[in-house]
Symmetry: C2
Subunit: 244 residues, 2 copies
């Protein structure tokens, strides 16, 4: 059995998070060995627990999140979650009649419930030592998505809308603003990197929806920047190794 | 705080393990999302805890391993280590006067102590549910190592010997055989892949000692093969996901 020798980074989200150990993804980079010259905020001095669930929206993820996060009673024996990264929207924004669709207001409410789960003293999972970062879903490239869907067996239709996902990304930013939680605006950052061009986004995506290695590199870069700005105590230089 | 929702794979070793999340390394691949078509034995249904310590030999790792592995008392509240991968030898084999040098007999004894720590009923850390795999150190390419060392500032000397590391790899295999623990013979597998040619090994190494992406790919492949053969209950098809 594993003793609790290191604190934890928990990554909560959908397939974009689940894939975070692939393609030199952001989970793998967060979990990697200390590389001081990169000035990484986080490294193997924390264990990375990937709680990304392919296909999930915020509605389905809420009860799973409760399973993943220890109650106050359990916290006595559980490793400390120093950082919680919450990354949803890519599936919530699937237009009806997709089963994954979650109305925008409900999406906002679900994100607030997730934040509240760890930040409200009256919550059974109150965890004052847990710092939280929200991330917006990446922009979709509907042309690329359509081609990827049609290439499936049997062929399917494009199942995302550029503008809808943009609104869900904005909703994440709004929730972060009103709740005082830092937001990594991947939607904006990737769209800028693509020259504000939907087709240009194909450079960062595998199928119009999921990120490729180049896309994940930006996720890692932006996440580390957000940690450095908002939680400087977690920056590499300020973390001590558990072991000599 | 993280609840114990998934079991754990613990990777114990030196810098070769520590780097396992880099370069699409074996730790990242073990931790990745389920990919049934790859018939991976292990996936994100278990959390990967990297306990690789750069520069460590078995002598220094022993007390650290005790810190990392829960005692019987602590095990009630700790996630279950279903698989423990022990990978040492690369530093133990550093010829004297390197401080890392551990005599061959002592190296064997230390590996046995590690195995005993989890397998002996009288051990404070006895853990009958933990399956163990030993891995041999990779072969060194002394020419490449010498060049890498001379390129450092200040320049250093080659600090490994091809034959010595080979003997430490053999010692790992012997310990596995006498203790009844499966061994992944990376030394043999990589040397074969290099056409039994020390210079050919450069294809799999970064500096004559550490693995590159191609080398790590073989580590992953061989480790999964060993799990499949020795612990078929851990094969992908036989693992249930904690979440739907």
């Amino acid at each position: 059995m594993a003793a609790h020798v290191q604190d934890v980074i928990m990554l909560l989200g959908d397939s974009l998070t689940q894939g975070g150990f692939d393609l030199n993804g952001f989970a793998a980079k967060l979990a990697r060995a200390p590389v001081p010259q990169h000035h990484l905020a986080l490294d193997m001095r924390m264990d990375v627990l990937n709680r990304g669930f392919s296909g999930y929206n915020t509605e389905w993820a809420l009860p799973v999140f409760e399973q993943c996060f220890a109650t106050k009673e359990e916290q006595k024996y559980a490793p400390k979650v120093r950082l919680l990264v919450i990354w949803f929207g890519a599936n919530d924004a699937a237009p009806p009649p997709k089963a994954q669709y979650v109305p925008l207001e409900r999406f906002r409410a679900n994100l607030r419930t997730m934040l509240w789960t760890v930040s409200a003293p009256e919550s059974a999972r109150y965890s004052p030592d847990t710092r939280v970062v929200l991330m917006t879903p990446p922009p979709v490239s509907t042309g690329q998505r359509g081609r990827a869907q049609r290439a499936k067996e049997p062929p399917r239709e494009n199942d995302r809308e550029f503008e809808t996902t943009r609104r869900y990304a904005e909703a994440v930013s709004e929730v972060g603003k009103t709740e005082g939680v830092p937001v990594v605006d991947l939607w904006g950052r990737l769209y800028e990197a693509a020259g504000r061009d939907e087709v240009g986004l194909e450079e960062f995506l595998t199928d119009g929806l999921h990120l490729n290695e180049k896309g994940y590199a930006i996720v890692f870069e932006e996440l580390v920047k957000a940690i450095k700005e908002n939680y400087p105590e977690y920056h590499y230089d300020n973390l001590k190794s558990v072991f000599p």
